[in-house]
């Protein structure tokens, strides 16, 4: 009998689990109105903005009350959202959806296409302009509202540059040769332990803060375009070679720093977005320059580090959710977001829309100019696996200098091609 029970339990479990898949349609309508829930990120400044935005909405729409909370804690927001989609308890809107995670959420059936709303496509086009095409999914639909970007630049510590005998007002950082020469001087003069110290770890998203900004500036392309990996191109390899030299000469350490190396004066430079202005403020006497290119020509683009707003399929009152989405991305609310967080709303007319802000915040103007030319993580099938495949190859050949760089990147590109074409 014991044996029979032991055999039956897994069978019962498997049967039950098999029954769990599929199910009926939620029956939600794009016209339905009523209360909804919203999650926003746990960044203190965004929370403060989010609370005010929700209060303003609720005051004007008492019958369509929004209940908002910070995204629940987890290893990453993407895992929490993925679990919530599977459990069917995702909120209507999440104001912190990473574009790289959108293909996965879409595959799960967790997202609502925004162009299904009568004014959806037009609203997106009016807001984002020519950059919108980067946010289209392979089926041609838009499952995300591009919301805010953090176009990256190179921050440098003026005092450390001065200590190394470099001109802090006119740093030579525009091309790869100068970038290397400046880095060598900084380390040789012991002005800092590292010239720059990006996280040398293996998480799939780390390339967004070391290689990808250099790659986008150099090529003006996404990591994958038209189903083909772009990083094994001659320009892609040049950017990788720069980092390989940085690691080989210990100008960038291959150990993880426990803390913020730039704030602690351990690194003289950092790749950062506009958020850094308020974070470093007066703590570091900083300057900002664009990400270098191989020959010093102006960059062809800059990585956006963008976050979108997603509408999730568990939402019943999608009409209200769409209205809240438009309210949260209105010119007024975008302006308040800019004031509160210094992050750049994804709208075409950024500097002209908020002239007073940029007149009184000159430090941010250069970021706003970069924001017009942002390049996104590609919206392709198996997006996270694509980034992980690239990161593994990069870790091996660039950070730890093993094997032939070109061959390793070409091998990874072949794998990425298959993943991006969903083979």
């Amino acid at each position: 009998m014991k044996k029979a029970i032991l055999v039956m339990l897994p069978v019962a479990a498997l049967t039950l689990s098999a029954c769990g898949s599929g199910g009926s349609d939620s029956g939600a309508s794009n016209d339905a109105h009523g209360p909804i829930t919203v999650w926003y990120s746990n960044n203190a400044q965004e929370v403060a903005w989010g609370k005010k935005m929700v209060a303003a909405w609720n005051a004007a729409h008492p019958k369509e009350k929004v209940t908002a909370q910070e995204i629940p804690a987890g290893k990453s927001s993407e895992e929490v959202i993925g679990a919530a989609i599977t459990a069917g308890n995702a909120p209507c809107l999440i104001l912190n959806t990473a574009p790289a995670a959108v293909p996965g959420f879409q595959k799960q059936g967790g997202l609502v296409p925004l162009d299904d709303f009568p004014d959806g496509k037009k609203y997106l086009q009016d807001r984002v302009g020519s950059r919108l095409s980067q946010y289209a999914s392979p089926d041609g639909k838009y499952y995300q509202m591009p919301w805010k970007s953090n176009p990256v630049m190179i921050f440098y510590n003026k005092e450390l540059f001065k200590k190394a005998g470099l001109d802090p007002e006119h740093p030579k950082l525009s091309n790869y040769q100068d970038f290397l020469a400046t880095s060598r001087k900084l380390v040789a003069a012991k002005a800092a332990k590292a010239a720059i110290w990006p996280a040398p770890s293996s998480e799939f998203y780390q390339s967004w803060f070391d290689y990808y900004p250099m790659f986008t500036a150099q090529t003006g392309k996404q990591l994958v375009e038209d189903g083909k990996a772009q990083f094994a191109s001659p320009d892609g390899i040049k950017a990788a070679q720069l980092w390989k030299t940085m690691y080989a000469e210990h100008l960038a350490p291959n150990e993880t720093y426990n803390g913020d190396a730039f704030a602690d004066g351990k690194a003289a430079m950092a790749t950062v977005g506009p958020w850094a202005v308020s974070v470093y403020g007066d703590k570091v006497k900083w300057g900002a320059v664009p990400v270098p290119t191989s020959d010093g020509a102006p960059g062809k683009g800059t990585f956006s580090d963008e976050k979108s707003i997603g509408m999730y399929s568990s939402c019943k009152n999608r009409g209200t959710a769409w209205d809240v989405m438009k309210f949260a991305t209105s010119k007024e609310q975008d302006g308040k977001l800019l004031e509160a967080t210094s992050q750049m709303p994804m709208r075409t007319d950024l500097t002209s829309a908020y002239p007073q802000y940029f007149a009184s915040h000159q430090d941010y103007k250069v970021f706003a100019q970069q924001a017009e030319h942002t390049i996104e993580a590609p919206n392709v099938p198996n997006s996270v696996e694509v980034w992980q495949t690239f990161r593994d190859a990069y870790t091996k050949a660039v950070i730890f200098g093993k094997g032939d760089l070109t061959a390793t990147l070409k091998d990874a590109a072949a794998k990425v091609d298959k993943l991006a074409q969903d083979q």
Partner: protein
């Protein structure tokens, strides 16, 4: 007093070639619930817990590993066809998967003996009358109950290139340093885990040691046996069941290695040298949306751990 149970059992007739007498048929109630059916009632909460927490997920994982499965929102119609051994073929032809199993083998070869020998020696010492014995017992247990995240910070401070260990070693410090050295990173992780878990295994051994009859030690001492001889000939055999438990638990917890490579070596670095199968399952299943492949890796891991545990049992209980 002899047992009466054997007296009432029907005896097999003597002689060769004789036919067996039919065994008395037990009622279905006795078969299902035993002679004291109320016992089933008492154990049923645990059985339900076991079914919900272990049997169902294990069965589900096996099912997933034979299907093209991904997590989907409720109400979404998705096709999850049976794919036979496809997921197993995918993971077994993936060099990263093989490397993760090789990494964990290296880890176990270092960690399990270190844990077993270290905890037995320490427990033996702490079982004697020592000054500050309670303090030492507590001190060895503290790392076990401290969150890995907190302890990892200390080890990073010790083992990074400018850390205390390298400063003490001076010119003998390895280059590349410990945690970014492909050959040294996994041994450091293995030592870290052994150190962190030692307290738990010391407690297991202490309870076993306190059940060893004192007369054995006294007799051996009278016979002139030295400390080492007493340890080898009395202590080690006497705690053999505890040793089996320590070996199996250390192997199971070691094979499930995740937090340490995730935090201590920045996600399985350097260059995948500390990537464990469970870390790979996390990446494949949760980050990359391939829970079917992650389940296949998990099933292979369960089979291997079971085989190793059975091997331990044979080894430890052979005499």
């Amino acid at each position: 007093m002899s047992s009466t149970t054997s007296d009432v059992r029907p005896r097999r007739p003597a002689g060769r070639g004789t036919t067996k007498s039919p065994a008395p048929r037990r009622s279905w109630r006795v078969r299902l619930g035993g002679h004291q059916p109320i016992g089933m009632l008492f154990v049923s909460p645990y059985l339900l817990y076991l079914a919900a927490i272990f049997v169902y997920p294990l069965g589900f994982a096996v099912w997933m590993s034979f299907h093209d499965y991904f997590f989907a929102a409720p109400g979404v119609q998705v096709d999850r066809p049976f794919v036979g051994l496809d997921n197993y073929t995918t993971v077994l032809t993936d060099p990263d998967v093989w490397r993760s199993f090789l990494n964990i083998a290296v880890f176990l070869v270092i960690n399990v003996p270190l844990t077993t020998v270290g905890s037995l020696v320490l427990a033996n010492a702490l079982n004697k009358k020592l000054p500050f014995r309670s303090f030492f017992r507590t001190a060895y247990y503290i790392p076990y109950i401290t969150a890995s995240v907190a302890v990892v910070g200390v080890w990073l401070f010790l083992f990074n290139s400018d850390g205390l260990v390298n400063q003490a070693l001076g010119p003998l410090a390895p280059s590349p340093s410990w945690l970014v050295n492909s050959h040294l990173a996994m041994p450091v992780v293995a030592v870290f885990v052994a150190w962190k878990q030692l307290g738990f295994f010391v407690v297991l051994y202490l309870s076993a040691l306190q059940n060893v009859p004192q007369e054995l030690y006294e007799s051996a001492a009278l016979d002139g046996a030295g400390r080492l001889r007493i340890f080898r000939s009395i202590t080690v055999p006497a705690v053999r069941p505890a040793t089996l438990l320590v070996l199996i638990l250390a192997t199971i917890t070691g094979a499930n290695l995740f937090t340490e490579p995730y935090l201590l070596t920045s996600g399985g670095g350097p260059d995948g040298a500390t990537t464990s199968p469970v870390l790979l399952m996390y990446q494949r299943g949760l980050q990359q949306g391939h829970p079917d492949e992650a389940a296949a890796i998990g099933v292979i891991l369960v089979v291997l751990i079971t085989a190793v545990s059975l091997g331990y049992r044979r080894l430890v209980e052979r005499d």
